[in-house]
Structure formats: structure tokens, C-alpha cells
């Protein structure tokens, strides 16, 4: 029921029913205004539930918003803003909210007590996978996911400030005003749609005016300060190391293209002031979960802020002074107060309505909505007709954020609550209700005072002036659970009641953390915000301990649920990882080349031609180009590192196993790099361009690793070396030109023709490529007469197209990764398939490359026993005994007659291919004492692909073992 007729309305749907609402009000207010009490079904017993609170702590009223891929489950009706066309459905109920089949759980509830999962589904073991798990999975959870890709946009962002004020109630506003006026960069964040906190929900005066008018003035002042940023709809969700805070912002208004639904902020603050307020806690009494039973503060929030009466006849049940505010405010606006029940015998309270002190609610009626309550008073019972019951078990300061870095809250007896322990979060102070300070004037004062301290800390000169305001006392006599029979709910969201907690204690789950896991109290979206202290008190009572000794469970981030989409914002689709494209990318795509990922790079697998139906056809043809004519391949993805300085050669001698100081200018040498533990890190060629100038090549995969390694060597291990390194991978587009016609092809683009005398194998130097200064290296990864030619990247695409066009004239063309792989396997050249991190220089047959004349990274460790010798699995070639039978990488190798079991494995295959050159299947692999076993026939077994083949162990260089082709 609405207290006034609204000026403007919108229409939304709830389970298909069209309902009018005030735009921007929370869904919970709209439902209550329309007399809708039954909103949801509970998690376990499917009990009918209604709106309980007016904030993000809501346990009951969880709904699904939208439909299809955009459906969002478990949205709290209390924080969902109503807009035109909003589509809301109830969840966890079938076939309908009113007649829910699984409500049968409620009838068999004695069998579903805490821990029933652990007891019931133990045996027989075989039932678990086929029966128990599928059934539980279907019954478990609240709202469901669509299983479709969410098309909505989410965002993440970073913000920085001097002072982060968390919460914009009286303490927060005063803190922001004080720090802001002093000149600090302030961010004030509040999860509500408007700032003001409880001041928007109470009827009181500040500075002689209506509190809401004071809030409006304060906000106007904050808005006018350029150094203050106000963030509404923003919940600070977590406190992290070094002043980093997580915050979830929900954007206002309807969903629209490009517009983020939520933004997850990482806020870095020099100081933070927590003004998170307090949450009212329920009282455990029988059937205290009926729709219509709400928190007392929520009842007056609906009345005062949204002009909605949650009932026609409202009863109030509390153990503290604050509950009486609700009765006063209801009476003020003319809503019938059916009764006020105060559990305290000595309560000093008054009001123009039936008042029962020393009384308790012991029963309620009304399955789909409250109809009456029964109270015990003066030794007798009395039934009171009421369609709404406002309950208040007192206030829990919202200490959560102060516990996010291992802090534990402190028990304060006089308010029967936990308060933050000072300095729990470095740089954070607390003020107001979250600190256990409850009167408005005390909150204002504390907010101003702590902000002034913080500002002074930051070197500013703050001034504090605090307006006059309400100074009502807060007296409470704890009442956790009403004695007597019946299920008294504590954690409404998880359907945990008093008896469950007593059962946990009885079964010796006495530690609060054990009790939580056993009963599930404090789990799920609300994380026990309202139920924790009550549950502790009941556990303390059951175990005969005090509450402080019982302790709390651990509050962890996030304070409210955060969608994974918001946390991972920006990383969907192409945002997942950067894409690196070579300069020849467009040209390769234009040839229909399928691209494969190589780290972040994209490289062509092969270049299909008309009539080719299988990649092998393309690959074999491309291998033929290189062996018989000429092939062109983009090798720009290999890491290229420019190394200069007086100690450049000394650096190379230290990071490579072999000697580079002896390399002549204008020559290239193959180098092997170890990790400090003696295993191979990477390999590649390094060219000497000048006396103090080298350019190193790394594999594509290890480019970043090697760069970091070289910086490590220069800055950490050998700062005495005067050498400078910088990546030039992106500066140069580099292409391999390989095959008998390689020189002829290059001579069509080079300004000066090449000859053997000036450009022998392993020569390097500057060349002019069609008028552009470039670099040429006579190196070969295919075993053919080959070069790599480099030009500044801006000319890359142009040069690639030119080389390919010329190659095609000469009976060759471009080749991709597949052909490149075959060419190098035929030659026994290794890649990271072989140097996979567990192989030593000895294993790959390069033990002699570790120079005895100098120290180098990995040299000492490589000499350790066990890293060389006969028992090591050594690199070998493997040739299929049946040439047309395929071999597979990953297969294991066994002695010819051995059983193919793990213990008999003598090695494994690392690379395999069909060699069109040799017309047989080949592989590289490692096998025990392999170099001494050339000629032996062994067995290859791939259990995964079910391949068994006999293979002959041989030298890894299958083709042109003398290397004449590359030199010729």
C-alpha cells in the first residue's frame, strides 16, 4: 500500500504479472506497495518467503531478472531498481511460486537436518556418481544460469584518491565533508542509489532541519568540491594490501548497447574511512520466516523513504530501544500498530498503542503471508492479528571490511555486538555505526573527527564543525532465541535454524568454523550478514562458552556478490589476450592460410592451393619448394635482441655455453643457452654486426623469457658487465628464403647481387633491399642454401609479397609452420618440443658445446651427477620400419619385446612427421643411452591414439648429414 499517490509510474512484470511502480524504487518496495508478500522460496525446504530487509543484506527476496542469455539469477529485490519493462521472475519454485512441488522437503525436514548430506549420501559408494550427485545438483542452488554467452557489457576501472570514504550515512558524509573541505582528494562510495544512509530512512532533524534536507545540502557541497568524487550504487567489496580496495558499481537505468551493466573498480587510497553503518539482526522465534515478518528498520525505511506501508496492522517485536522508532514512525503516518512487544522487563518505553514488556513472540500463522502472532506475556499467551511483524534483535556493526586482512573484531558487551579492532587494515579507520557508535550526533562527530585526523596525517589543515542532531540512547538486553518448541530460523537464506546449530555442537562441531561448514550457516550470497552473531550466540550457549570465546567465522571479500563478468571485464573475446600479427599477416590470410597461435603470435600453418583437400598435400608441396626450388617464410616472430657495449661479448660468453667473444664481425654462430640448473633454456643464432654490437635470435616461444633472463644477468648477477640490451623483434620484418634458388631469388630484390665469396654460409651484414637498408643472415633452419633477410617492419608486407611473387616464378612459393617443422625434423634440428625444460646439453648431443674455457650460466649445475651418462635419455632419430605408417609425438618407446607398461618405458617421441623428401615417417625422441643404440629396432607405443610401430633408432640428422646443401 502506498501512503501517497505517486507522480510518475512505470510498469514491470513479476512472474508475468504487470505491476505499476515508482521508477527507481527498489523492487522490494514496489512489491510491498502492491501487496505482494510471497516473493521467493527458500533454499533447502522451499518455504514461502517475503521481503525481509531494505538493503544488500537481503536473505529471502532473491529473484531472476531478464530472460535468456541476459537472465541474471539471485538478484536481491532490495537493491534492484525498477525501470519500465523490467522483467522479474521468482526462482527455486516449480511449478509456481504459490504451489511449489519441492515444498515437500519442508514436510520431511526432520530427515534433512544439518549434516544430512554427509550422513545420507555415504553409501553405497556406487550410488554417488549415478544417483546422488545428479539429484543433489538438480535440487541445489537458487537461481539457474542460462548456459548461454552473456551479451552484456561489463567494465573494470582503476581509481586513485587520498581518502576513500566507504558509506555515505551521517558519519561518511561528515568524513567526506571534513576531508574534502581540507583539500584532500576524496572518493566517497555508497551502495545505495542515493547518498545519506539511514538519514534517508529516519524521521529526524539535523541542524534544525529535516535530516533529508541536511543530506541534500551536504551532497550539494560535496558535488561542488572538485576534489571530491561521489560514487553511488558502488559497494566497496574488499580491502586488499597496500590500500587497494575493490568496489562494484551498478550502473543506473536500463541495459543498452555498449553500456556496462556493472563496473568493477580497483580503488587505491592513501587512507580509508569505513563508515559502513550497521545491520539489524533478527530474533530466532518459531516460524519467524513467514512473508510479512521483516526487520524493524526495514519497515520504517519503506514507510519513511518510499512511502510504502508493508502492512495494514503491524506488530513490533524487539529487545532494544531502537525498535520503538518503528512503532512511532508508523503511528506518525497513521498505520495501525497492532502491538509492540519488548522482551525487556525493564524497558522504559511509551506509545499510544498496545505495549507488552517482558514479552516474547512464540508463534506465527499464515503460510503465504503473516496473519497473526502469538505472544507470551505475564505467564499467559495472547494472539494478535497482524499482517506484518517488525523485529529487531539489535544492531551488528558492519565490521566486514576490517576483517579482510586477517583482523578479528572485538566483542562489546554493552551493545552485544562485535566492533572493529583498530588498525586491522593498515591505513583504514572506522567511524559511526560500524564502530558501534549509534546516535546520529555521535556518528556525525566521529565522522568529522576521524576525517580530521586523517587529513592532518596527509599534511592538511582540517576544521571540524558538527551540526546539532538526535542523541537518542541505545539500550539493549540481548535476546537471541525465544525458548520453546518449533523451528526458529537464524540463517534464512540457508534454512538454518536453532536446532541445527545445537545439533552441530552436540556432534562436536564446536568450533565456529566447523559449525559453519556443518550447518552451512553464513554461506551463500548474503554470507551470514544478518545471521552470524545470532548463530554464534546460540553456539556459545550450546557449548557453554561466552560469545567472545566462541569467536567469529572469517569475513572474506567480497562483501556483496560480484559477477564474474565484472571481475573479468575486458577479458572476454579478443580481450582475453593480446594478438600479435606479423607484417605478412594480411598477405597470408589473402592466401587462405589457416593461422595457428604461437604464443601471442599468429602464424600460417600452410598455404592451400586449388585442388588440395588435406593439409598434408599442402605441406608436402611446400617442403618440395624448399628442397627443390625456393620457399619463403615469415620468421619475424623469433625474438631478436640488440646487444651493444664494451662487455657485449663477455655477456654472450656468460649466457651461452659456447664462445662468442671469438666470433668474427660479419659472422653468425649457433648458441646454446642453459638455465642455472643446467637444463637447456633456449637456442638460436647470434650475429656479430660490430666489435661491440651483436644481434641475438631466440625461439618464438622463449623471446620474453630470454629478454628477462638477460636483464637478470645484467642487473642481478653481473652488474659489472657494461652491456645494453633492447628487443628489436618488432623493428625488423624478417623472412627466410630457403632452397637451391634462394640466392637467385634474393638477387631479384637486392641492390647488390650476392656471391659465395662475400656471403658464405653463416655470414651476415647490411644489404640494400629495393632501396631500403636491411640486414642479411646466411643461416638455415631447413638444411638448404638459405638466408634470412630483414627490413624495417614498415616494409614487411611489401617485401613478403615481392619475395613470394618471385618465388612463384621460380617454381617455389610461401611455406608455413607445417612445412617448416618437417624441414627441421628431416635435419634433426631441435625446437622446444625437444628442449622442453628437462633436457640437458648432454641429452641433445651438444655436451661438447659447453666450453671448458669459461664459466657460464648452468655450467656448474650441468656437471652434477645424474645429468649426463648412459642412463640419460638421449636425442635420437626414429625411422618407421613401415614407411607409410604414421608415428606420433607423445608416444613412449620400449625395447622391442618388452611389455608396454610404464616401468618399461625407455623414452618418448617429441616430434613426428611424414618426410616427403625421404618418403617415410620420421620422428625425433629421447631414448635411454640412445646414441649408442643407432641401428637398433625398438617399439613405439601410443596408448592414447592406439598406435604400435616398430622404429629404427638412428642419428637425428636424417637428411644431408654432411650439411653440404646449406654450404653450397
Amino acid at each position: 500500500m502506498r501512503l501517497q499517490t505517486p507522480e510518475k509510474t512505470v510498469t514491470f512484470t513479476f512472474d508475468g504479472r504487470r505491476i505499476k511502480a515508482v521508477p527507481g524504487e527498489p523492487l522490494s518496495a514496489a512489491l510491498l506497495a502492491n501487496g505482494i508478500k510471497l516473493v521467493a522460496r527458500s533454499f533447502k525446504y522451499h518455504r514461502p518467503r517475503g521481503v525481509m530487509s531494505a538493503g544488500s543484506e537481503e536473505q529471502n527476496a532473491l529473484v531472476t531478472v531478464g530472460h535468456g542469455a541476459q537472465a541474471e539469477p539471485n538478484v536481491r529485490a532490495t537493491t534492484l531498481e525498477v525501470s519500465e519493462g523490467l522483467e522479474v521472475s521468482s526462482q527455486n519454485a516449480w511449478p509456481s511460486l504459490r504451489y511449489d512441488a519441492l515444498a515437500v522437503n519442508d514436510l520431511v525436514s526432520p530427515f534433512l537436518a544439518a549434516g544430512f548430506y554427509y550422513k545420507t549420501f555415504m553409501w553405497p559408494r556406487s550410488f554417488w556418481e549415478k544417483l546422488y550427485e545428479p539429484v543433489i545438483r538438480r535440487a541445489a542452488g537458487l537461481g539457474g544460469l542460462s548456459g548461454e554467452t552473456n551479451p552484456d557489457t561489463y567494465e573494470k576501472a582503476f581509481a586513485f584518491c587520498d581518502v576513500l570514504v566507504i558509506g555515505a550515512g551521517p558519519a561518511g558524509l561528515m568524513a567526506a565533508l571534513t576531508a574534502g573541505r581540507a583539500g584532500a582528494d576524496v572518493i566517497i562510495a555508497d551502495e545505495d542509489t542515493e547518498m545519506g544512509g539511514r538519514l534517508l530512512r529516519e524521521r529526524e532533524q539535523i541542524d534544525g532541519k529535516d535530516a533529508r534536507a541536511w543530506v541534500a545540502d551536504a551532497l550539494a557541497e560535496l558535488d561542488a568540491l572538485p576534489n571530491v568524487r561521489c560514487m553511488t550504487r558502488t559497494t566497496v567489496t574488499g580491502a586488499y594490501d597496500q590500500g587497494t580496495y575493490g568496489a562494484l558499481e551498478r550502473l543506473a537505468g536500463a541495459r543498452a548497447a555498449d553500456k556496462p551493466v556493472e563496473c568493477f573498480w580497483r580503488i587505491v587510497a592513501k587512507r580509508a574511512i569505513l563508515c559502513a553503518g550497521a545491520l539489524e539482526r533478527p530474533i530466532a522465534f518459531p516460524n519467524n520466516d513467514r512473508p510479512g515478518i521483516m526487520m524493524a528498520s526495514a519497515v520504517r525505511a519503506y514507510v519513511n523513504r518510499w512511502g510504502v506501508a508493508p502492512g495494514k496492522a503491524v506488530a513490533v517485536f524487539g529487545n532494544n530501544d531502537d525498535a520503538h522508532r518503528t512503532a512511532h514512525d508508523l503511528a506518525e503516518v497513521g498505520i495501525k500498530v497492532a502491538a509492540v512487544i519488548d522482551s525487556r522487563d525493564d524497558a522504559k518505553v511509551s506509545g499510544d498503542y498496545p505495549l507488552y514488556t517482558g514479552a516474547q513472540v512464540i508463534a506465527t500463522k499464515g503460510r503465504h503471508g503473516l496473519k497473526s502472532i502469538t505472544i507470551r506475556h505475564n505467564g499467559g499467551t495472547r494472539t494478535i492479528q497482524a499482517d506484518c511483524l517488525a523485529m529487531s534483535g539489535g544492531w551488528n556493526p558492519t565490521v566486514h571490511l576490517t576483517c579482510h586482512m586477517n583482523g578479528r573484531p572485538t566483542w562489546r558487551e554493552e551493545i552485544a555486538s562485535f566492533v572493529p579492532t583498530p588498525d586491522s587494515i593498515p591505513g583504514m579507520v572506522t567511524a559511526g555505526a560500524c564502530n558501534g557508535t549509534f546516535s546520529t550526533v555521535a556518528c556525525l562527530t566521529e565522522g568529522a573527527d576521524v576525517a580530521a585526523d586523517v587529513a592532518r596525517d596527509l599534511g592538511l589543515k582540517p576544521q571540524t564543525t558538527v551540526p546539532a542532531a538526535d542523541d537518542a540512547a541505545y539500550a539493549i538486553t540481548p535476546l537471541w532465541a525465544v525458548p520453546g518448541k518449533g523451528r526458529k530460523w537464524i540463517d534464512f537464506q540457508n534454512d538454518v535454524h536453532v536446532k541445527d546449530i545445537r545439533l552441530a555442537a552436540q556432534e562436536n562441531f564446536r568450533s565456529v568454523e566447523h559449525m559453519k561448514r556443518y550447518t552451512t550457516q553464513g554461506m551463500a550470497p548474503d554470507q551470514g550478514k544478518s545471521s552470524n552473531v545470532v548463530a554464534l550466540a546460540v553456539l556459545a550457549d550450546a557449548t557453554g562458552r561466552g560469545i567472545p570465546e566462541t569467536g567469529t567465522t572469517t569475513f572474506r571479500p567480497p562483501y556483496v556478490p560480484v559477477s564474474i563478468a565484472a571481475m573479468g571485464a575486458g577479458s572476454q573475446g579478443k580481450g582475453f589476450a593480446p594478438e600479435r600479427f606479423t607484417t605478412s599477416h594480411q598477405a597470408s590470410i589473402a592466401c587462405d592460410a589457416p593461422m595457428i597461435e604461437a604464443g601471442l603470435w599468429y602464424r600460417p600453418s600452410y598455404f592451400p592451393q586449388k585442388g588440395e583437400t588435406h593439409w598434408r598435400q599442402s605441406c608436402d608441396r611446400e617442403v618440395g619448394y624448399v628442397r627443390n626450388a625456393v620457399g619463403v617464410c615469415d620468421v619475424s616472430t623469433l625474438g631478436k635482441i640488440d646487444i651493444q657495449g664494451p662487455d657485449a661479448a663477455a655477456l654472450l660468453d656468460f649466457v651461452y655455453t659456447n664462445m662468442f667473444s671469438t666470433l668474427k664481425v660479419g659472422r653468425v654462430r649457433y648458441g646454446l643457452m642453459l638455465r642455472e640448473d643446467g637444463h637447456v633454456m633456449d637456442d638460436g643464432t647470434t650475429a656479430r654486426l660490430g666489435a661491440q654490437h651483436f644481434v641475438m635470435t631466440t625461439t618464438t616461444a622463449a623471446a620474453g623469457l630470454v629478454m628477462r633472463h638477460l636483464e637478470f644477468v645484467l642487473q642481478v648477477l653481473r652488474p659489472d658487465l657494461d652491456a645494453k640490451i633492447i628487443s628489436v623483434t618488432e623493428q625488423w620484418a624478417q623472412f627466410a628464403v630457403a632452397g637451391p634458388q634462394a640466392r637467385a631469388l634474393l638477387n631479384t630484390v637486392l641492390d647488390q647481387p650476392l656471391d659465395d665469396e662475400t656471403w658464405p654460409f653463416m655470414a651476415c651484414g647490411a644489404v640494400d633491399v629495393a632501396g631500403v637498408r636491411g640486414r642479411l643472415f646466411r643461416i638455415s633452419f631447413s638444411g638448404e642454401h638459405a638466408y634470412e633477410v630483414a627490413v624495417p617492419a614498415r616494409y614487411g608486407e611489401s617485401l613478403f609479397r615481392m619475395l613470394v611473387a618471385q618465388a612463384e616464378v621460380m617454381g617455389g612459393g610461401p611455406y608455413g609452420m607445417e612445412a617448416l617443422n618437417v624441414l627441421r625434423i628431416e635435419k634433426g634440428f631441435i625446437t622446444h618440443a625437444e628442449i622442453h625444460g628437462r633436457t640437458t646439453a648432454f641429452d641433445i648431443g651438444m655436451g661438447r658445446m659447453v666450453s671448458a674455457k669459461k664459466d657460464c650460466i648452468g655450467k656448474a649445475a650441468a656437471a652434477r651427477p645424474g645429468l649426463s651418462g648412459e642412463m640419460r635419455q638421449q636425442l635420437v632419430g626414429l625411422r618407421a620400419k613401415s614407411p607409410d605408417h604414421g608415428l606420433s609425438a607423445g608416444a613412449h618407446l620400449f625395447a622391442k619385446d618388452a611389455a608396454e607398461t610404464r616401468v618399461n618405458s625407455q623414452g618418448y617421441v617429441t616430434s613426428a612427421c611424414f618426410s616427403p623428401t625421404l618418403q617415410t615417417h620420421l620422428a625425433l625422441g629421447f631414448v635411454e643411452n640412445g646414441r649408442a643404440r643407432h641401428g637398433e629396432v625398438i617399439k613405439l607405443r601410443d596408448h592414447l591414439r592406439d598406435i604400435t610401430e616398430e622404429v629404427e633408432v638412428c642419428d637425428p640428422v636424417f637428411f644431408d648429414p654432411t650439411g653440404g646443401r646449406a654450404r653450397g
Binding site: 567494465e155 553500456k259 575486458g570 579478443k574 642487473q715 629495393a770 608486407e797 611489401s798
Partner: protein, 173 residues
Amino acid sequence: MVKLIALTPCAGLLPITHGGVEVTEVRPERLMSVAPYAGQSKATSAKLKEQIGEGLSAVMCRAGAVTWFGHGTWLVAGEVALDGVAAVTDQSDAWAVVAISGAGAEDVLARLVPVDLRAGVFKKNHVAKTMLGHMAVTITRTDTATFEIMVMRAMARTLVHDLDIAMRGVAAR
């Protein structure tokens, strides 16, 4: 005689505009990295001043054609000869360089960059070596509402993609 055609790193990708924020490509003529050898910073600075009018800039700063470019390294927009005092490496083609400008540019970058780029903190000619999304970048404030962003050339497309999404999000607010 054949002739090679030059393409810029962002060819075909820029400019883009959303809600008053514009991203355009910057095309530096020449970029040389300069890393002074041990004890040669002063000598390097003096030679640079002679050759291009500015010495080595302060850490995290740009001065004229000289931009701090990381630990012990500067990037100079122009041809320099520093034989013996510093390592000089041609980087002219290694970087995609874009300018993002407009009143919302700071907000756009706040969605992608984990450092404080607010005007009061990150002033004109301040330089940050940091990240944009998942990429390492160099960001320079070149004017009140303009930033220059450098990213590895091969990642130009991802840079434009990430900026485009962030710009749309800011514009939609």
C-alpha cells in the same frame, strides 16, 4: 627497379571517435633508443643536447625529443650519433604510436591502465611505463587532454580494440 611500400602500424585501424574522445595515429619519423654506458650519462646528455637540443630527460619525463623509456634507457625522436658513450638502436618501426584526446580521455584510460593518470598527478610530459589491458605500454601526457600511447607494433590491432571498447563504455554513460 622494384620499390618497397611502407605501411604504418595502425594502417586501416585509425582514426576512431566515440563520445568526444578521438584516437589517431602518430607517425614519428625516427625513434632511436639510447642507453648510456656505465658512467656515460653526462657525456650522453651533452652530446644529445648538441645534436637535438635536449639532454637526457628526468626519469618518468619527456623533454622535447627525448623520452624516458625505462630503466637506463631513453627514446629519442631523431637521428643521433653517440659512438662510445651510449648504445643506440633503431626503434623507428618497432612501435605503434597513437594519440588519445578529448575530455573523456582520462576516463577511458582509467578503464585500461592501472596507474594514476589524473591531471593533478600525471602532468604534461610525464611518462609512465605501464600496462594497458594485458599489454606493456608507454604513456605520455602530451597536453591537457591528450595522451600518447606506444605499444609493440604487432599489437596495434589489440590496442585499438581495447581502446574502442573502453571508449564506447565511457561514451555510453
